[in-house]
């Protein structure tokens, strides 16, 4: 991996003597502070008009204690100690391959199906051990929903996609009502209410991803895990998903893995920054309020990453 500072990498060769004298020295600081100002503005804009946030409860919705994850003999994550507060958006950022998705998938035991995957330490959901031998993985996944990187609707109708979760979990309720409520929550109802029997594959990429969110919401989960939900989408669809995530955070606990640092700044209340060691095992560098992590990072690796000098 290249540790070259990105800002200097892209530096154009000075074209004239005059420019060379004035610019290069200032370049780096102005670039990183520009980014930071923009990020701070984003965060402040969001906080405007909202109530001052109450103190994050000490007991998180999701908590890990000295969590290690192995794939056979390879340690993918080491010593993870994080807290995810309830009804907030927590984003996980970090360079590629540092184990962000692995950490996310620990919470709904989606790593169970990978041969050779095992964990040490604890992962708690509402204070209960997710990996307790008596815990039922299907129940955990029912209560902790997930949205994937690539929209993956079932090859069924829009209606059946949303109704899938309630049906397999044996909900005895008015299915039409659940479908309508979930699609409204996912801001997709107006687009599809006239064609619920249409194939889900006929929708655009952004609509498909919102359908996947509606599908996850239909079983009324407490937590929604999102693995780079907007990375396969165009800017307009991305913005729609981001707005949706903000709205959903009033009712749901959301954990989102993202490659887009600015996106983390725009939408999340808490930010977890991860990176990895030389042996490629990932660990958490910083876990704090988004405003603090982005404006006053405690660790210089965090600062290097968010200002684009690393990763």
């Amino acid at each position: 991996m290249s540790m070259q500072p990105r800002a200097t990498e892209k530096e154009p060769a000075p074209s004239s003597v005059g420019e060379a004298e004035t610019r290069p020295a200032r370049r780096e600081t102005s670039k990183s502070s520009e980014v930071r100002i923009k990020i701070a503005e984003d965060i402040l804009r969001r906080l405007e008009g909202t109530e001052p946030e109450e103190e994050i409860k000490t007991v998180g919705k999701l908590v890990t204690k000295d969590l290690n994850v192995y794939y056979d003999s390879f340690r993918a994550l080491k010593g993870i100690n994080i807290r995810v507060p309830e009804k907030r958006v927590t984003s996980i950022i970090g360079p590629s391959g540092c184990g962000k998705s692995t950490l996310l998938r620990c919470f709904n035991r989606m790593n169970d199906s990978i041969p050779g995957a095992r964990i040490e330490g604890e992962a708690l959901f509402n204070g209960e051990d997710i990996y307790d031998p008596r815990a039922d993985p299907t129940e955990i996944r029912f209560r902790i929903g997930m949205v994937f990187q690539k929209p993956n609707p079932f090859p069924k109708s829009i209606y059946d996609n949303v109704a899938f979760g309630p049906r397999i979990n044996g909900f005895k309720v008015d299915m039409d009502e659940i479908v309508e409520r979930s699609l409204k929550q996912a801001a997709l109802w107006e687009d599809v209410k006239e064609r619920l029997k249409d194939r889900a594959y006929n929708l655009s990429g952004g609509q498909q991803q919102r359908l996947c969110i509606a599908r996850a919401l239909a079983v009324n989960p407490e937590v929604i895990l999102m693995d780079e939900p907007a990375s396969a989408l165009d800017p307009v669809a991305t913005q729609a998903i981001e707005e949706l995530i903000r709205t959903l955070s009033h009712d749901y606990t959301i954990v989102i893995v993202t490659h887009n640092i600015q996106q983390a700044a725009r939408i999340s209340d808490r930010t977890i920054f991860m990176t990895m060691d030389k042996d490629r095992s990932g660990f958490v560098v910083e876990d704090g309020d988004t405003l603090q992590v982005f404006t006053l990072p405690k660790d210089e690796r965090t600062e290097a990453f968010i200002t684009g000098r690393f990763g």
Partner: protein, 296 residues
């Protein structure tokens, strides 16, 4: 030097050999295709010309006879339909079930890999070996006699490897993202398999099944071994009745000296081909229908 390589003349000089080889290869592959097609057409024309005049309603509704004019394929046609029906009923659930286990449930283990390898090998075992197995196990061991059931069980063993392999391929082709989506909603493995994986794999599974049955419908050797080469002048009324099938009836007629029986054999082949083509057409229609459904 660098300039010379890029002039149009130099380009032509360099590539003319390649272009010639390219068109020669095109000709070779076309010829290879045509050889197969031409032989098939010659065979069809020969069979149809020979058997066409014997092909009428009487031929289909009469039992075999020593006199060519009276002879028909009723018992063989019904035997084929009975045999295929029971073979499908036995082989479909067993084959698809085995494929689901191997693809969706089986842990990664050397024993499982060994089983998969052996299934592939079984698909290449000569069919007469299955006949001997059927004779020993079903006809004699389980005392089923030369019945439809014994034949169907033998045929099922014969085509099971084909069905399993085809179904496994179809299941393997289902994108993992769909399974993950289902699991993430709290679905059990069975719910995921039944509601998500199987519907998506169905076109491939069905195609494999029908192609396997198409192979079984033309099989003669294993049925001769288990004793279906007898004179049968009735249609089966239960799975434990004796039977004969179209390929055996054809074999029987071909081996007689009279020219008229040769033509009767040709007529029986036409009937068999029609059934075969109908089944394959059915496979294609089913596949297209389900594919449209699953791809939206």
């Amino acid at each position: 030097m660098a300039v010379a390589i890029t002039t149009p003349a130099a380009y032509k000089r360099r590539t003319s050999g390649m272009k010639k080889r390219s068109s020669a290869f095109y000709g070779l592959t076309l010829m290879a295709t045509l050889v197969g097609v031409v032989f098939l057409v010659v065979l069809m024309v020969d069979v149809v010309r020979d058997g066409w005049r014997w092909l009428d309603w009487d031929f289909i509704t009469s039992f075999p006879s020593r006199r060519p004019v009276d002879a028909g394929i009723k018992s063989a046609l019904f035997g084929t339909l009975w045999l295929m029906g029971f073979t499908a009923l036995i082989a479909f659930p067993l084959g698809v079930g085995a494929a689901i286990y191997l693809q969706e449930y089986a842990p990664k283990h050397w024993a499982i890999s060994l089983i998969k390898l052996n299934i592939t090998n079984l698909a290449g075992v000569p069919s007469i070996v299955y006949g001997i197995l059927g004779l020993a196990v079903f006809v004699r061991g389980m005392e089923m006699g030369r019945s439809v059931m014994a034949g169907a069980l033998t045929m099922s063993l014969l085509i099971l490897p084909i069905i399993i392999i085809a179904a496994q391929e179809a299941l393997k082709a289902v994108p993992d993202s769909l399974r993950q989506a289902s699991y993430a909603l709290g679905a059990t493995r069975w719910q995921t398999t039944w509601n998500v994986v199987l519907p998506q794999a169905l076109p491939g599974v069905l195609t494999g099944n029908i192609l396997a049955l198409s192979r079984a419908i033309g099989e003669t050797a294993p049925l001769i071994v288990i004793g279906a080469l007898t004179f049968i002048a009735f249609t089966p009324t239960s799975p434990l009745d004796q039977f004969t099938v179209l390929p055996i009836q054809t074999f029987n007629w071909v081996s007689r000296p009279q020219a008229d029986f040769q033509s009767l054999a040709a007529a029986a082949i036409i009937v068999l081909l029609v059934i075969l083509l109908t089944m394959n057409a059915g496979a294609i229609i089913l596949r297209n229908k389900f594919q449209r459904r699953s791809e939206g």
